[in-house]
Amino acid sequence: MKKFFIGFAFVSLLIAGVLSYFASGDPDGLDKTVEDTGIAEHAQEHPFSGSTFADYALGGDDKFTGFAGVLGVVVVLALSFGLFWVLRKKSDAR
């Protein structure tokens, strides 16, 4: 059981930390749609666009995308595990 969970977490780390460097930089389906139709002109700057990890980088330097990815994995894991653990029904069988 533990082995599976550790393996699953490791796969996520590998994807976010390493594979993320190979991701396409082209706009995704929604971005492409709003760019091609001109809707994108109405897009507002993200209020946190100047923040440290904005756009999965470190201070705007996307050499650190893998680092941002690993950070995101840790944050999502901590938040979601915490939430789901609190929400769960307590079982007597362990």
Binding site: A9, S20, D28, L30, K32, T37, Y56, V76
Partner: protein, 223 residues
């Protein structure tokens, strides 16, 4: 598929913040029944995996890419309510920590990807449950189809929101055609990723696949 602020007008953005809050609240209440000492850690890992895979934009056409949304993937593995919460957590972290997806747009983004995507993916998966129980091939097909459908419906969410109160007054047919065309291609990627992920989990830990819970013929466990 994370929209920025400003693409939808303020009243529509607020309306979808309310809709998203109601939907997530409902999921929070219903999720309890699907969470125990075994499935809670699994749910955390599913959210984490979706975050990681969403970083990987894959090319679909010259100049356009797509990424996993994760609704069907989450719903098949941990159920629709927990699944919706998984995708919501991912979207909140992306918006707050990585400036990916606007803040006033968060309601619409959660509605499309976490609520619509997960619900439609789950409904298709349940409708095809008998096929999924036939074995790994059946499960792969069901995962692919439900993920493809979740992508198209999540895209439709944006089309509807834009029709109600989008900025710029672009003809809705044009928006719909682009969104559906592009997301039909993205849906193939979503389907493949979902099929590979779900069947991998099912080969190692079939007991952790929510869709197969109570299945008469559990998939054989390879050890």
């Amino acid at each position: 598929m994370h929209m920025s602020d400003g693409l939808l007008n303020a009243p529509v953005s607020v309306a979808f913040l309310v809709i998203a809050a109601l939907g997530v609240g409902f999921a929070l209440v219903k999720a309890r029944a699907d969470l125990d000492d075994r499935t809670a850690p699994m749910a955390g890992l599913v959210a984490t995996f979706i975050f990681a895979v969403q970083m990987i934009n894959f090319p679909i056409l010259p100049g356009a890419s797509g990424h996993l949304l994760g609704g069907a993937l989450a719903a098949i593995l941990v159920g629709p309510y927990v699944g919706a919460l998984c995708v919501t957590i991912v979207l909140v972290v992306q918006a707050l920590l990585f400036a990916d997806g606007g803040l006033t747009a968060l309601g619409a983004n959660v509605t499309n990807m976490a609520l619509i995507g997960t619900a439609t993916g789950f409904l298709v998966a349940v409708a095809l449950r008998k096929v999924a129980e036939k074995g790994k091939g059946g499960l792969a097909v069901v995962a692919f189809v439900s993920a493809f459908v979740n992508t198209l419906f999540a895209a439709t969410g944006f089309v509807v929101e834009y029709a109600i109160g989008g900025a710029g007054g672009v003809e809705i047919g044009k928006v719909a055609l682009l969104m559906w065309g592009l997301h039909a291609l993205i849906g193939i990627g979503e389907g493949l990723i979902t099929a590979v992920t779900v069947t991998s989990v099912a080969s190692i830990r079939p007991d952790l696949v929510h869709l197969l819970k109570g299945s008469r013929k559990p998939l054989e466990v390879r050890s």
